[in-house]
Subunit: 380 residues, 2 copies
């Protein structure tokens, strides 16, 4: 067994746990909290509720909501300027993957200086970040658990992946009640991100005996509850998906992800598409690409996704891949890249960007930019 | 689902990972490390190896080895005096449960003042502790993962249980190579402690969807490898037991333990017996006591321990309890309390001590001191 590391933030989980947010920020020494959220979360009423909770704790805060899906490098920079100008001391993110990733970028820039681009890749962060309390309002991104942040570089039209232990929030507060204001359209795409986290962390060459169990547990819970959750948006199922996502989050923050994330980042950076949608379209192709080198593990995934073990590992694995495609169809998502992209002329450049993504290092099978281009074409 | 919290230290795991100890202490700001170990670990050569590693990192340290099994309150006090006199700044424990628990006590007293007795119970610690890096040389106590420390109060002849999130070490380094110098007699008792951690955390009323999975995973790995490990002392099996213990440790630090630990602490405090030995003798009786209120969960435990599911839950659960007794017999341990205790005159007082142990709060079935006395008599 190789030497491995395992680290997760302190987790608080359960209906109503939002109320602990202020106390947690206080425990981390907050005098002036830098709250990051976005207009969608505002519209659902959660930011207002958070502000009231902070008021009850007599906590001062400054609010930043200049965040879009696939948060931009210039937004991080603006947030950092506001943080410095206001003399904030704790970062509190309330939202989906985008506000959380933006908040990490801001925390990084205010403590380490320069531009977010300076820290692209793994382990480039030298100085400690301000304390971070993260409250997700979606399940799937798991930015509240992970040491990852992904920020769009608008000039280069790519998404930068940054990995550092310092990017793990101090405290993650998952309140399943916050999931109940999501529409069906908002719920679906991040679940394919979650699926990719479970699958990619499981077949990662740096998976450990801890993360392997967590990946499979995440996958198992996800497949058991995804249909009910999407068809009914019932809190019980959404809550189970939040548990599932947390397992997969604990797995991938330690075992990393692979080719699928490299592909999704590069595509999202060029075309500004929804991250989970990219996974829905690409994951089956990525699973087929990795099939030969991870046969036993891919068969295990197949068994969990389908509840069946077929004649041999390959058949079982392929049946699992078909299940991912079937889920995509059931939920009414597009099945080909051409349905959401204008043309394929930029795919060679996207492939060259993908090959530089740090996530590719932990894919079980190496891939050149041409291999990647082939996968995009297959998915076209 | 109730609100739950989940926190574990940063874990480093693997053969040869001892070499990261100095780097980890440095990362936590060490200028002068307070090393806690004991003569047994010295005799195995591990303290010397640690000192050499610290030397290579040019790290200054002071050494404290005045620790016995069931570490004493006065030893904690002596350690704290030495720590203050030497101006140490990071606590590094290398050893089994005793040096690790003593090290926690020392870290607590130097930062919070007073005597260790002042902090008995749950959440009595007010100020942050110095950073702690723990390196276990046995598997089973999981003090390197947990928020527990247990210190003998020699005046009252009882073991105090202290629980606080501040008692979770910052970094836990588990190097399975360190397990290879243990004799069979040293390996066996803590494995019954580990078994009790898995069982008691699983049936705890504050078990969460995270800890339940971890308890069962710990139990499953333990039962798969315990015989080989003890019969061969082979590194591969010892390593798997270390993984098993880590799972159970992550479970019980968050879900706590129950009646079995209350009983073992009280008995150990009065008679200074080996903690794991107390569990070997008491656990089956505790499992029977809890059977009716945790039937489904006890049946699940039975299935994992025996690999079988019998006609009904009760039969399956009882078969699991018999398996614990069988293991005890296979490994040549005594089966009755009377084989290791001088007489039973003090058992009423021991029972009155047990009923005050904080662990009792998280037992699924309440117990009065008379219930507890009955269990001791059953085990006599």
């Amino acid at each position: 067994m190789d030497i491995f590391k395992f680290a997760v933030p302190e987790l608080i989980f359960g209906r109503g746990s939002l109320k602990y947010t202020g106390i947690c920020a206080k425990r981390l020494g907050a005098a002036k909290i830098f709250v990051v959220s976005d207009p969608g979360v505002e519209a659902a009423g959660w930011t207002q509720q958070l502000f009231e909770l902070l008021g009850e704790e007599h906590l001062d805060y400054v609010y930043f909501n200049d965040v879009v899906a696939n948060p931009r490098d210039y937004q991080v920079q603006r947030g950092a300027e506001l943080y410095r100008r206001e003399g904030a001391d704790v970062v509190l993110a309330l939202g989906g993957g985008s506000p959380m990733d933006a908040a990490k970028g801001i925390a990084l820039v205010v403590s380490n200086g320069g531009k977010i681009r300076d820290y692209e890749g793994a382990n480039q962060v030298k100085r400690p970040l301000p304390p971070m309390v993260f409250v997700p309002t979606t399940m799937g991104s798991e930015s509240n658990i992970s040491q990852f942040t992904v920020i769009s570089d608008v000039e280069r039209r790519l998404k930068m992946t940054l990995i550092s232990r310092t990017l793990v929030p101090n405290i993650s507060i998952t309140d399943p009640l916050l999931l109940t204001t999501m529409t069906r359209d908002l719920v679906i795409p991040p679940l394919f991100d979650s699926l990719a986290h479970a699958v990619e962390s499981y077949v990662s060459p740096i998976a450990s005996p801890f993360t392997e169990v967590m990946s499979l547990r995440g996958l198992d819970l996800l497949i058991r509850h995804i249909r009910n959750a999407i068809n009914t948006l019932h809190i019980d199922d959404l809550e189970q998906l939040a548990v599932a996502g947390s397992w997969s989050g604990m797995a991938f923050t330690n075992a990393s992800v692979g080719l699928g994330h490299a592909l999704a980042h590069a595509l999202g950076g060029m075309y500004d598409i929804v991250h989970g949608m990219a996974h829905a379209l690409l994951l089956p192709h990525v699973m087929r690409y990795n099939l030969g080198v991870s046969l036993k593990k891919m068969a295990k995934i197949g068994t969990i996704l389908t509840g069946r073990t077929l004649a041999d590992d390959e058949e079982t694995a392929l049946f699992g891949i078909e299940m991912v495609e079937q889920l995509r169809e059931e939920f009414g998502l597009p099945s080909r890249l051409r349905e959401i992209l204008p043309d394929k002329t930029k795919l060679p450049q996207v492939s060259r960007n993908a090959v530089n993504d740090i996530c590719l290092l932990t894919n079980p099978r190496p891939a050149t930019w041409k291999d990647i281009l082939n996968i995009y074409y297959e998915a076209w």
